[in-house]
């Protein structure tokens, strides 16, 4: 059994739209090489459910005609797949050298204080999580962060611009 935090065995159903995406992915590779669709399929699952649960991985395996372990080993290797529920908006701050030279650590401290949760935790209202991530390839425009699930990107951050960003997301939710 896959060892993940907060394992759920709740069955999942994939929407017709998600299955259509799977079919499109599989069409991109030669016959018999449908396993290549695994990474894009997991991204699509996460976009629909917010994270990748064990039952969802089992269903992906079933669709791609591969063993569940083949899905687990991929989902646990790559950093983008969440194996437990996260906040609706995941703030990912680049914590690598060039961004730190221009203040990324201060931005992470500020986000922690502003949201009142530590790295990897979820705010009480379920809206936000945050974490430091490795290089986001925007080193000339740091500090930078991106926000899932759309991965919208923000550069040249200041504490004030982060406050505005969080306020905008809250306002969007309340409307």
């Amino acid at each position: 059994m896959l060892r993940v935090e907060n394992v759920t065995h709740e069955p999942v159903e994939f929407s017709p739209a998600l299955l259509a995406q799977f079919a499109d992915f599989v069409s991109r590779y030669p016959e018999g090489k449908q396993k290549s669709a695994l990474l894009p399929a997991l991204h699509a699952v996460q976009a629909e459910f917010g994270w990748v649960s064990a039952p969802a991985m089992d269903k992906v395996a079933e669709y791609l005609k591969i063993e569940p372990i083949e899905v687990y080993e991929v989902a646990t290797f790559y950093t983008m797949y969440f194996l437990k529920p996260q906040g609706k908006y995941m703030l990912e701050v680049c914590r690598t050298g060039p961004c730190c030279l221009v203040g990324a650590e201060k931005i992470m401290d500020h986000i922690e204080q502003k949201l009142g949760v530590k790295e990897g935790e979820v705010t009480a209202d379920g809206m936000f999580s945050w974490r430091g991530v490795e290089c986001l390839a925007a080193c000339g425009f740091g500090p930078v962060l991106q926000i899932g699930p759309e991965y919208t990107f923000y550069e040249n951050l200041t504490p004030e611009s982060v406050d505005q960003l969080i306020s905008d997301l809250k306002a969007k939710e309340n409307n």
Partner: protein, 451 residues
Amino acid sequence: MARKLLLEHINIPGINTLEVYRSKGGYDSMQKALKTLTPDEVVEEVKKSGLRGRGGAGFPTGMKWSFLAKPEGVPRYLVCNADESEPGTFKDRYLMTHIPHLLIEGMIIASYALGAKTSYIYVRGEMMPQIRILERAIAEARNAGLLGKDILGTGYDLELYVQPGGGAYICGEETALIESLEGKRGNPRIKPPFPAIAGLYGCPTVVNNVESIAATVPIIRDGGDEYAKIGIGRSTGTKLISAGGNLKKPGVYEIELGVPVEEFIYSDEYCGGIANGKRLKAVVAGGSSVPILPANLILKTAAGDARVMSYEGLSEGGFATGTMMGSGGFIAFDEDQCIVRNTWNFTRFYHHESCGQCSPCREGTGWMEKVLHRLEHGHGKLSDMDLLVDVSKKIEGNTICPLGDAAAWPVASAIRHFRDEFEWHVTNPSAAVAGNFGLAHYADPLVKVEA
């Protein structure tokens, strides 16, 4: 004003669209290749250009193409490596964001030269906006008959797809990238066989960086000989340099190879000098994996000559007094920056990103991170520097892929050039923790000081 081949039209509104891109001569090179040149002639032009792989290795691109096995009845693949994640490097993201059709046109030219009927652009998963940009541009090209069956009536068929990664630096290594594209963990393969013989799905495959593939467009337009006239020595053509850190004007610059480093840092055409009136302390010239150099050695070689931005120029002196062009990720450190802290940060990155396949890398990066962490946080010992050098030597050259070297070189070079700063952290632990480095003397007194 430096000649621009890739970024010439970057500031034109709408250049990300097919219509505007074509109005500036876009896809003319592709038509020239498909309609007037044989695949072998395209390869020959790229060989003549002297183009070297722009992802970091610097291997001649035309030669790499000519190694591709061509057995009958077996598909061949071109895979674009757009898994840009080397700290300091952001040129490919910039190029894909602003002028995606340049990459797509290059993909068609390169695929034609290699005889590939299906090609993939493997983009790091975090770059979802760039993935959407590329998919939109591919759809435009397909609708215009520039992709798909019988492109422009030439009889050449090509399908092009974007593949997202899942967040793993190691997938920038070509065999790990292939594993990932096959839906597996990104564990590098032992070479040989090289991808040119057995790559994607066991078929002959070429993996090229975004910038290398984009460069084929001006090469075919102007001819390989013309391209080779730009640059210096065996460093031909132009190179995208992504400049970050404590610079007045960080950003992506296209340089003609051979520009003096001092000009690149201080001239208004490029970075405009060091930010906030500070002095330059050190530079990482080619992405975090290449050796760091103090200001005096990045501006001049050990022999006292002006150091130039070229493959040979940056490596002048070997690793004792030189560095590498790498991916062109140029990170400048001002006099207030702490080399120990930065080395710890980079090592944490490599420890985090090690795939775990080889013990020296998996364990060694973790040990180095721990030792650097204690040095940075005031708990170091004077023997730690020798320990770090020893561990770095045990990693270097002892792993399947170059991630081990990439982790070892920054540590070894930082201690080589800044050993007394490391020792200062041991002898002044409370000041180190407080971030008071007191080591501004590292900044070269000969370097210009901004007002």
